[in-house]
Amino acid sequence: MTGDGPLPIVSNADIVAVRQQVRTAAVESGFSLIDQTKVVTAASELARNALVYAGGGQVRIEVVENARRRGLRLEFHDEGPGIPDVEQALTDGWTTGSGLGLGLSGSRRLVDEFDLDSVPGKGTTVTVTKWAR
């Protein structure tokens, strides 16, 4: 899984592939069923964001380890229009599209570490980490 290079996100089928890869990695890292589902759902949200709002992007899936436990780090990167107001984008119910407005804020709650780096006009990178319990 690690070192396989980033997975492209250019179509709906790729979102399914991302979900499957993340689930496999989560199972291998010893995630509980609930944590597997959470990280897979977060991956699904973030991958769809990259596709819908940036026209596509890529994700790097990494198994990480610290002294005590193993985890999964997902780095979503796109070269879309970027997010002008990050604070607002992370508000529940806020959407510029037609969704529920919970994808970004909800994914933040689904994972342990959430890092959003966006430059308007350049693109967005969202890095999330979920640790196995």
Binding site: L33, K38, T41, S44, L110
Partner: protein, 290 residues
């Protein structure tokens, strides 16, 4: 004599030569058919009648100034029939390339300069035709995949009748926009056809419920409601419940149940149907064979 004039002198004879070379190959193919065809058959390991058809199409194609439409048609047919028998596209292409070997033996025996020169041209032609079988194999595959995707869309969304007035949609797999559309249409149509007022959407087989899936589900439920039907969503497993709560999705006043059985029991109660357990004890008979 200036060197630059050399090509001008040589060029016309070259084309004439090339023409002669092609003609020589054509003549050989026609004259030695009885030798080449069995040899090709032995090399290619493909049905003799199909090879003969391609061979004859090739000959008549040459006669009409290298019109290879018929050959391509025959090759596409060969490619299809061999794919059906489980041969790989490489096998089929190799079978076509086998004609080069069969013809080369004849060219060698002929030994004329024209035939040897013509063989270069012939071999390039056969390479193209071999690649063509590959292409037609790929496009045939593509068509099968497209057809299957469509069939899957239809197959994977059955609407089943659970009881008089109660229908259920067991959802399995990924719920994208296209599938939700099919599910919604089918469910609404079934509600009308069966005069059903209650529907259960079972998501036991949906591996992950993200905001998009949830939104699709909500829309389906609201659409059913507009038609006067009540929907229950069942098959919410612990991990799904956990994720939905963390994501912050609200199902509002939509009734959800853990299992399809719970949903059916709820619906039956709503319809005023009572199920009572029979008082008579049931006796199970078991026989053992020694």
């Amino acid at each position: 004599m200036p060197v630059s004039t050399v090509p001008f002198i040589q060029e016309p004879p070259l084309t004439v030569q090339a023409d002669a070379a092609r003609r020589r190959i054509e003549e050989l193919l026609r004259a030695e058919e009885e030798l080449i065809l069995p040899r090709w058959h032995a090399i290619a390991k493909a049905p003799a009648d199909e090879l003969r058809e391609i061979y004859l199409a090739l000959l008549s194609g040459f006669q009409e100034g290298e019109d290879l439409t018929e050959v391509r048609g025959a090759l596409a047919e060969l490619s299809r029939s061999r794919a059906r028998q489980g041969h790989t596209p490489s096998d089929t292409a190799r079978a076509v390339f086998g004609l080069k070997e069969a013809v080369y033996e004849t060219v060698e025996r002929d030994g004329t300069a024209e035939a040897l020169l013509g063989f270069t041209w012939f071999s390039r032609l056969i390479d193209d035709l071999g690649l063509f079988t590959f292409e037609s194999y790929a496009s045939a595959r593509e068509k099968i995949i497209l057809d299957q995707a469509e069939q899957l869309l239809e197959l994977s969304t059955p609407v089943v009748k659970l009881w008089d007035g109660i229908v259920a949609v067991p959802l399995v797999g990924t719920l994208d926009s296209a599938r939700t559309q099919v599910v919604m249409e089918k469910l609404l149509q079934t509600l009308v056809d069966n005069g059903a007022e209650h529907a259960v959407i079972d998501i036991t087989g949906v591996p992950a419920v993200d905001t998009q899936v949830a939104q699709h589900l909500l829309k389906t439920v609201f659409a059913a409601r507009l038609m006067g039907a009540e929907c229950v969503i069942s098959g919410i497993r612990p991990q799904i419940a956990h994720t939905i709560v963390t994501l912050g999705i609200e199902f509002g006043d939509i009734v959800t149940k853990a299992s399809l059985a719970d949903a059916l029991a709820y619906m039956l109660r709503r319809r005023g149907i009572e199920i009572s357990q029979a008082e008579r004890p049931r006796i199970a008979v078991r026989t053992e064979h020694r």
